[in-house]
Structures are given as C-alpha cells and as structure tokens.
C-alpha cells in the first residue's frame, strides 16, 4: 500500500497555494495528512499534484475577539485541545476534541483539514454546525465567508471552489456559563462517531431554556441542526422525560446505512444521543456538572 506517483509542492504563502490550485491539474491539498495519506497509501485517490500546506505561513492561530473565536485552518487539533481560550470560550469543541481520534492523529490533524474533508462521522464539522460557525476561504478573487450551514454541499464535498483554500474558521461564542455537551456513540475510544449529538444551551435563572442548539452528526453528508427540537426547547426545563419526548423527532432524520450501522440504528441513536447531550448540557448550564 504505497502512494501513487505525484508531483510535490510546498508553498510558503496562501497566495502561492491559490496560484497552484488555479494552475495545476488534479491537485490535492495535504494538511494534517490523517485523512489524505491513508487514501494515498490505499490508492483511493490518484492526484497528479500534492500541495503541502504545512509550510504556509500564518494559518495556525487561535484568537478571541469580542465574542468571536478565530482559528487558522492549519491549527492542529492538539493545539485546540490544549488551548485555554477554547476550553473557556468554546468548551463544546474541547469536549468534542477529546473524542476525536487518538493522541497521534490529533498531533497532526488540523481543523481546516477535517472541515474540508467533511467525513460524515467527523466531530469538528458538527461543532461548527452547532455554533453557526463561519468558514473563511481565500481564492484568486480574495476572501469570502461561508456560513457553515452552506458549507457542505454534498457527500464529502465542501462549498470551496477548486481554486480556493479554507484559511480560517470564525466561531461566535455563547454566553458565559452556557451549557454544552458533545456526546457520541463510537464502537471504540477514538473511533469515528456512528452518531453524535452536540448540544448548546443557555438557561435562565428560573431554570427555563432561553437558547438552544442541537446538532446530530454521523447521519449524512452534513451535520443536521434539529431546528424543530431547538424551538420546542425554549421555555422547557431540563426534565429528562420531556426531553426524551422531544428528541423522538430524531427518529425521523435521514440517516445513511453502511458497514458500521443501519439507518434505523443511526436514527435510534440520534434520539438517544440528543437526549443525553441535552441532559448533560442542562446540568452544566445549571451548575450541577
């Protein structure tokens, strides 16, 4: 299982990358390599050119500014996991990252790579969906923002044009003390999620939910925001039985079937994981966890 022949490029600026993307036939971008390299080794992809992003300046950063966290596309998952900013301001991402692969894959894997690859079972796309993140891409015509809801356009296909590079992610933060939980069902520690649920809650003094975000991952080409459930949650308390009832709507979700699980099983898990995520998020919001 050895990679096929290709031409190798290691640009040092975003401009160079965009130029290469515009000029080369059949290129592939190499970020952390944790998804592309297995595909190359197994010859599932046969690019004529590999553009290595690891020497490009200025794409690795985690900044927080007035309610938005800005993350560079080449920021390693490991650095996000260790980041105090992320732990404090986007704890959902931290929660999710602990379940992303293994130490070795997080040491190399990048957030930009994961988002561009858009594996249905990946955790970071679900976190971005949950937070209504904005994906920043750069192309020959400059920079543009893509709201995450518009980012996945088909199975493992992002809205980035052929000559565009994902350079950053902007994440609007939630109020301090908000509840969060990333819950997934995987066969083994670190495996891709068969089904995941990402919950964000803001809860008032009286215990009533004032804001809710619920995202199911692993079921299809894009993580799914359960907007009906989100609306129904407003004004609810964290009563588990009520949550169970509301989360039944998850059974209607379109879910893929594959060697890991049938669509029925994923739908079933959607109801279970979403309830568990909401319970956990509620407990965190009300200081019980």
């Amino acid at each position: 299982m050895k990679p096929p022949p290709f031409s190798y490029h290691d640009p040092s600026s975003v401009g160079e990358v965009i130029s290469l993307l515009g000029n080369l036939e059949n290129p592939k971008l190499l970020a952390g390599g944790q998804s592309l390299m297995p595909m190359l080794n197994m010859r599932y992809v046969l690019p004529d050119h590999v553009i290595d992003l690891n020497k490009v300046d200025g794409l690795s950063y985690i900044n927080e500014n007035g309610g938005t966290i800005s993350i560079g596309g080449m920021t390693r998952q490991r650095d996000l996991e260790d980041s105090d900013v992320i732990k404090a301001k986007c704890p959902l991402m931290h929660d999710a990252l602990l379940q992303v692969g293994h130490r070795q894959t997080r040491n190399r894997g990048t957030i930009g790579g994961s988002l561009s690859h858009l594996d249905p079972a990946a955790e970071l796309p679900a976190v971005c969906a949950a937070h209504d993140a904005v994906i920043v891409v750069q192309g020959p015509n400059g920079e543009r923002d893509i709201p995450f809801a518009e980012f996945p356009i088909a199975y493992m296909t992002p809205a980035t044009e052929m000559d565009e590079l994902l350079t950053g992610i902007k994440i609007p933060t939630w109020a301090e003390g908000h509840g969060y939980a990333f819950v997934e069902f995987a066969r083994r520690h670190g495996d891709f999620a068969i089904t995941s649920a990402a919950a964000l809650l803001e809860v008032g003094e009286d215990g009533a939910i004032t804001r809710a975000s619920l995202t199911i991952g692993g079921v299809g080409a894009a993580p799914v925001r359960m907007s009906d459930i989100e609306q129904a949650l407003i004004g609810q308390s964290g009563d588990e039985e009520k949550l169970r009832e509301l989360c039944e709507a998850g059974r209607e979700i379109d879910a893929l079937g594959d060697v890991y699980a049938s669509s029925e099983y994923r739908q079933h898990l959607a109801t279970v994981m979403s309830r568990r995520a909401l319970v956990k998020a509620y407990d965190r919001a009300t200081g019980k966890a």
Binding site: M1, K2, P3, P4, P5, P38, M42, R43, F185, R187, R188, H189, G190, D191, F192, V259, Y260, A261, S262, Y265, H268, L269, V272
Partner: protein, 780 residues
C-alpha cells in the same frame, strides 16, 4: 519453586532487549544487496474465468524486472498446486491452490501474477497496469446457500460445493432423545475473523549458485513444512533449500499455512538470480491470508428433571472458503470439543464443510474450541433457564469430577487416538472463578442496579482444550569447546517466548546460567525435522525434548568430568559454566573443557570409552493431547439504549499444568482473552452477496484497543499432566476459548428483564438494540 534455579520463575525474557531497542529482525527488516521487491496482481472478483492476461505494459515499465503468471512458472514447477491438506477420509473433493491463478479465480484476493521491481512502489504501479480480462461468474457467498439446490458452483469444475462431510458420535442418541423428559434446541451462528497479527506475512528469498541453495526467510510458523512443500513443488532435494524464520510479529495460526506467494517469491528469486522480497500489506492480509469465518449450528440437548445431560446432537455447516489450505481440522475440532469438560452419555454431530468463493479458512488462535465450547455453554444456559436451575448448579451436576480423571471420552482425535482428559479439577476451578466474581452476591447487585435503571449481567463458561499436539518436536542440546550451550529446535517463535522457555528448561539442568545458553529455532538446517508452532504445542513437545536432551547431556558431562576430576558423579554439581566437586569449588572443570575432551584428538582414545560429542538429540514422542481447563466468569453492563457492552469484571481461572514461567503464562492468557473479547463483541469479517469483502481495513474491522479491555483477574491452578516429563500443558490459546461463551451469557443475563435470547457471536450494539426492541414488541 523451591530448589529450582530458573525453572518456574518469572525470569525476564531473553527476547526483550533487542525488541525494546529496535534491534529485532523481522522479515521486512531484512535488506540484502541487489534485493528486488514484489507485488501481486490479485483477483478483484469472487468468481471469474480469466480469458487473457496482458503483462506487456507492466513489464516494460521503468524499474520492473519481471511479471510472472502461472504460465511463466509452469516449466519450473514439479507440482503446480500446493497440496497441503491434512489427511482425512471425509473429503468429497480436493481443492488445492494453484501457485498462481490457473484460468479461474475463486476468491477476491487470489494471486494472479507477481510483479518484481526495484521498489514496492514501482511494483504496485506496474501491478495496476497488468490487464486481466475476466468473465465474471456467479459467486457463492454464503456457506448455507452453497449447499442448496440450484446454487452456483464455487469452482466451475467441481461437481458440487461440498468440500467434506463427516459425522462423529457415540451412544444410542436417537433412543435417548425419544425418551428424554426435556429436549431443547438452539440455532446458532458463530463467526470468528482473521488473525491480524500486527506484522502481516512476508518472505525474502535468494538463490546462491555457489552452494546451489535457495534460502527463504519467511514469517511462518513452520520452517520444515515450508521446506517440504518447496521440495515437493520445485522438485528439489533437502540440500537445495533452507527456510529460516526471523523474528515474527505474531502468528496466531494463519502463518502456519504455506501460501502461493511464498512459492512465487522463491521462484522469482531463482529465475531472476537476485533476492526478492514480498511484504504483505494489511489490505492483502484481509483478502489473502487465511482466516476463520462462519459456522451455523442446529443443536439439541436432552436433559432429565435435574438438568443432568442425557445427550447432545445436531448438525453444523462450516464455511471452508475456496480451497483447502490446511484441512478439515477446524470444523472437526469444533464438533469434537463440544462436550469436553462434561459427562455427556451420548453424542452425535453431523458436519458439512461448504466451499465458498472466499478466502480459504484455517484455524485462528483457539482453532474451533471457542465454537464448540460456545455451543455447550449456551445449551446449558438454556436448560438451566428452562428448568429453573442456577447456571453454576447445572454445571456442577455435569462437570466431570476430578476423581474420575483420567477420563476417556467417547470420541477420537483426527489421528484416531482416544481422547483422555488427563488431569485437572474442573469443579474446583469453577468454584474459584465463581468466588472471585462473587456470583452468589450478584442477584442482589443486579436488583440494585435495575432499580437505578442499569442493566448488569454475569456469565460463566468452562472449557477444556487439547494441547501439546504431537507427534514430536526435535531438540538438540550441544555443548561445544567454547563452553556455550547451544539449543537447536524446529520449534517456531512468534512472540510466545519460545527462546526463554527453552533456555529456562535447559539452563536448569546445565548450570543455571541462562546467559550461557543460545537457542536457534525455526531454521530448517539445524535439525532435520520439525512441526512448528500451533495448537499450543511447543512447551509440551519441544520443552519435553529439551528436558530429556539437557538431562542426557548433563549425565554425560558429569560422567566425563568425574573421569577428569577423579571424583564420583554424585559428588559433582554444575554451576554456571563449570562442573565442580560439591564443597570443593577449586576442583572444577569448564563445560568447554569437557566438550573438548570428547571432541576427539587424532590418534588418542576418548576418555572412559565414551561416545564422541557433548550433545543429545531428542524427539519426545506424544500421541495423546494433554488437556488444559479453566473457567471464565464475567460481569458486564449493557446500555440498552445503545447496545454498548462494557466490562465490570473479568475473571479467568485456568490450569495449564506445570508452569515454566508464570509471567509468560499470564501474558498468554490475557492476550488470548483480548482476542476472545474481540471475537465476542467486535470482530466481523464481512462479505457481500457477490463474495466481495466489505471489511478490509482497521477502521471497518475492529480489533480491541486498550480502553475496551477490562483488567483481567487471573486465578491459577496447577494439575501437572502425567503425559510428559515436565508435567506441562499448552497455554497459548486458553484465554480465547471461553471468552465468547462467558460474555454472551453475561449479556443475555443483563438483558433478562427484556426476555432477550442470544444465539450468535459476535454480538454488536445494533443487534442488541434490535433484540430488545423485538422482545418488547413480542411482550406487548
């Protein structure tokens, strides 16, 4: 162990320093001058006729030295097919693998051509442009469907899809079942997957024209078998081929088999006059290394009102795969093993091995024992539940009591030898396990958990396994003038600490200094015959031969030393590398000097009229298997909403007779248990309806990783066997045998509030959820 120098102690392994510092030498580490690399073109279809193979483009690629098909090899093969099946009267047809595909491919992964190039990268580039024209034929994808009328033929030249059929039994089964007060029947699906040693297969071969010697380095479990097959297939004599086993990264059974790739690599090396290396990659391991797969059992148990077994009968269909790469032994073992630790007055099992268009099936660690044990334990659980008898109690009533050992069972081994349970206390073992898992306190724990909305369960399984398969394993112990003790054997090391084991045994009798012993195994040139590593046999066979050889060398050394020191033999002792008079340490002679004395000097007689040489070669003969036993007791928690199973406690109490090194024994049992947990809950080698493999990487096929493993609590009993001078039994496969039965029993127990019945292994979370949903629907 009191009085022993090194035998029986937790001595540190000799294998470790090299392996820990990256100085191991595995087959892919072997780099020879001028070495070339091979890749194989493999069938992408489960069943197809080959109408044409066009290698021209591939052959002319830069860096490619050769592309060979069977036609190219034909003139150099005395036999084209690997005829390796163990003998049996049960075969209905002979299906032997051709060296490379012979006009028809019958499984995805079957090798069609070998490409040899400067690098593996180039070889794969070239393999991708070998053009093979296939006429796709219908594939047999299910071993039950294979036997139905109108099924396509897995081989177009076969009369049918039955590889073999046999039955076994004793007693008046029909009459017993007619009159039995209670008969319970079960249908079970059992599946085990591949070996997945972390090192895949591999071979390096080169031809030395000066010596007229072909050498094969192979990650195999049996050097002499490999040698003999090559002699047969290439028309060689014993001096023309040498097989050497380097460090092997795990074997677990499939590396015992000899493969088309091995012959192809050797031939390519001969024809090209340059060393050729082939390293199997993981995808190839999934589709071309032998594996275990499906068995479908229809079984019945007849019991009396007290749960005493009156008889067991049934039938089983076994997926054999496309060719015979070993024999019928796996299916045979499964049927043979069912009743082993229990008193079963009559028994009958009918077995059909079906040919399918999938990778050939041969034993993986456990070799049919997990399946047979699973059948028995599930039947007992069923009977217990139906009769309202405690699961341990029904076993107490049927386990063969230790006072009745040695106990002759009603069935014979494949070599037609009687099965005699030699030693062990099965009841005491089970009681120990029950105590450790606090089986008695469990109902209260379960009730409390249920009140908290948690589902926990406990399960037990008893096993007996035949080990130490004969007929022998040669060991030569030799002391040369250097004073170093050399040990040579046809045994094969693959991680199970063979060198340390042999060193402990030999050193014990020859001075106690393990650093003065050097072991050479797995080299077909150092001993004339060998069987190799399988069936947990080498401590019994090679260990016993080593003991006898060491004792004989010791006796001889003392005799000569007595002569040289003018003392009597009883007054001498061997300490380190010296023989000295007890209590008079200055009166001594070195082992080397003693060896020198019998090496012969021209014109001088040997002392005391003795035979020359300080060595002994022993083949301790073994006809009977020696039987280990044990009990696994497991407590699990099941999440009924997701179907996830997690372990609360895992206990295994086992008895492998005399223990050479407790640390190594523990490692074997725990390692086997991990494999068994994989078989119970995780591992499934999946194929679709066209016999296409659908789990071909480690993301799709799940091996247990550290967080899924419980901490294993081990209990030990030691019932030495009278069948060999060491009293040892094999231990390599013990852990894997009871795991599926105990775990499934525990899961079923955890889900008893739902009335779920489990008749399959592996059992995955979606299936658990589905079974609960179905049981709920039935109840309402």
């Amino acid at each position: 162990m009191s009085g022993w120098k090194v035998f029986g102690s937790r001595v540190k392994r000799l294998e470790d320093p090299a392996l820990l510092t990256g100085q191991g030498r595995f087959v892919d580490d072997i780099i020879l001058p001028e070495m070339l690399h091979a890749a194989f073109v493999r069938s992408p279809h489960g069943h197809a006729k080959i109408t044409e193979i066009d290698v021209e483009q591939a052959r002319s690629m830069d860096g490619v030295h050769a592309v060979y098909t069977l036609n190219d090899f034909r003139p150099h093969l005395a036999n084209e097919r690997l005829v390796v099946g163990l003998p049996s009267p049960a075969y209905k047809q002979e299906l032997d693998r051709p060296t490379l595909a012979d006009g028809e491919v019958v499984y995805v992964g079957e090798p069609v051509a070998i490409v040899v190039a400067d690098t593996r990268y180039i070889a794969e580039d070239a393999a991708a442009i070998v053009i093979v024209d296939y006429d796709i034929l219908p594939a047999v994808a299910d071993c039950r469907a294979a036997l139905e009328d109108g099924s396509p033929l897995a081989h177009s030249t076969s009369p049918h899809n039955i590889l073999a059929q046999f039955d076994m039994g004793y007693g008046e089964v029909d009459a017993v079942f007619e009159s039995a007060p209670h008969v319970y029947s079960e249908s079970m699906w059992q599946h085990r997957g591949g070996s997945h040693s972390i090192e895949c297969r591999g071979a390096v071969s080169f031809y030395d024209p000066t010596e007229d010697l072909l050498t094969l380095y192979s990650a195999t479990q049996a050097a002499h078998t490999a040698k003999n097959v090559l002699i047969d297939m290439l028309g060689l004599n014993e001096n023309q081929i040498r097989v050497i086993i380097p460090d092997v990264g795990g074997g677990f059974g499939p590396k015992l088999v000899f493969y088309q790739e091995d012959v192809s690599v050797v031939l390519a090396a001969k024809l090209l006059g340059r060393p050729v290396k082939w390293t199997e990659d993981r995808r190839e391991h999934f589709i071309s290394t032998t594996q275990e797969r499906d068995q479908f059992w229809e079984v019945e148990i007849a019991v009396d009102d007290d749960g005493k077994i009156l008889g067991i009968r049934g039938s089983m269909i076994h997926d054999h795969g496309a060719y015979t790469a070993r024999g019928i032994n796996l299916a045979f073992n499964s049927a043979l093993i069912v009743s082993l630790p229990y008193d079963v007055p009559c028994y009958y099992m009918d077995v059909v091995l079906a040919v399918t268009n999938k990778v050939p099936v041969t034993p993986v660690r456990g070799a049919g024992h997990p399946q047979g044990i699973f059948v028995m334990e599930r039947l007992l659980d069923r009977a217990a539940r139906e009769l309202g008898i405690d699961r341990p109690e029904i076993r107490r009533r049927n386990l063969i009591p230790t006072e009745q050992l040695p106990f002759t069972k009603g069935l014979k081994t494949r070599g037609d030898a009687p099965i005699v349970l030699d030693s062990g206390d099965y009841l005491a073992c089970m009681e120990d396990a029950l105590g450790r898992v606090d089986f008695d306190g469990f109902p209260a724990r379960q009730k409390k958990a249920l009140e908290e909305g948690r589902y926990i369960g406990v399960g037990i399984a008893n096993y007996v396994k035949g080990t130490g398969r004969g007929p022998f394993e040669t060991v030569t112990v030799r002391i040369g003038p250097s004073g170093k003790i050399m040990v040579y054997s046809g045994a094969a090391a693959m991680g199970q600490s063979t060198h340390t084991m042999l060193t402990q045994i030999v050193a014990e009798y020859l001075g106690g200094d393990m650093s003065n012993v050097e072991v050479v195994t797995g080299d077909s040139s150092v001993v004339p015959m060998g069987i190799g590593g399988s069936a947990s046999r080498q401590t019994v066979t090679a260990g016993s031969s080593a003991l006898l050889a060491a004792q004989e060398v010791r006796d001889k050394a003392l005799k000569i030393a007595a002569h040289m020191l003018e003392a009597s033999e009883e007054d001498l002792e061997i300490e380190g590398s010296e023989i000295r008079v007890k209590g008079v340490p200055d009166l001594k002679v070195g082992l080397g000097q003693v060896a020198h004395a019998v090496a012969g000097t021209p014109g001088y007689a040997l002392p005391g009229g003795i035979e020359p040489g300080m060595e002994a070669t022993k083949n301790f003969m073994i006809d009977d298997l020696t039987f280990v036993n044990g009990t696994a007791a497991v407590e699990v928690e099941v999440d009924p909403e997701t179907g996830k199973v997690s372990f609360v406690k895992y206990v295994i109490v086992h008895d492998c007779g005399t223990v050479v090194n407790p640390m190594i024994v523990d490692g074997q049992v725990i390692g086997g248990t991990a494999h068994g947990i994989g078989n119970a809950l995780f591992e499934w080698m999946g194929y679709d309806e066209s016999a296409q493999p659908i789990t071909t990487n480690f993301a799709e096929y799940l091996l247990v990783s550290a967080p899924e493993m419980p901490h294993i609590e081990l209990g030990h009993m030691e019932s030495p066997t009278p069948l060999n001078p060491l009293g040892v039994k094999g231990v390599g496969e013990c852990g894997v045998v009871p795991a599926p039965a105990a775990i499934i029993s525990a899961v079923e127990n955890a889900l008893s509030p739902f009335g779920v019945h489990i008749d399959q292994v592996p059992l995955r979370p979606p299936e658990i959820v589905e079974k609960i949903q179905r049981a709920k629907a039935l109840a309402s």
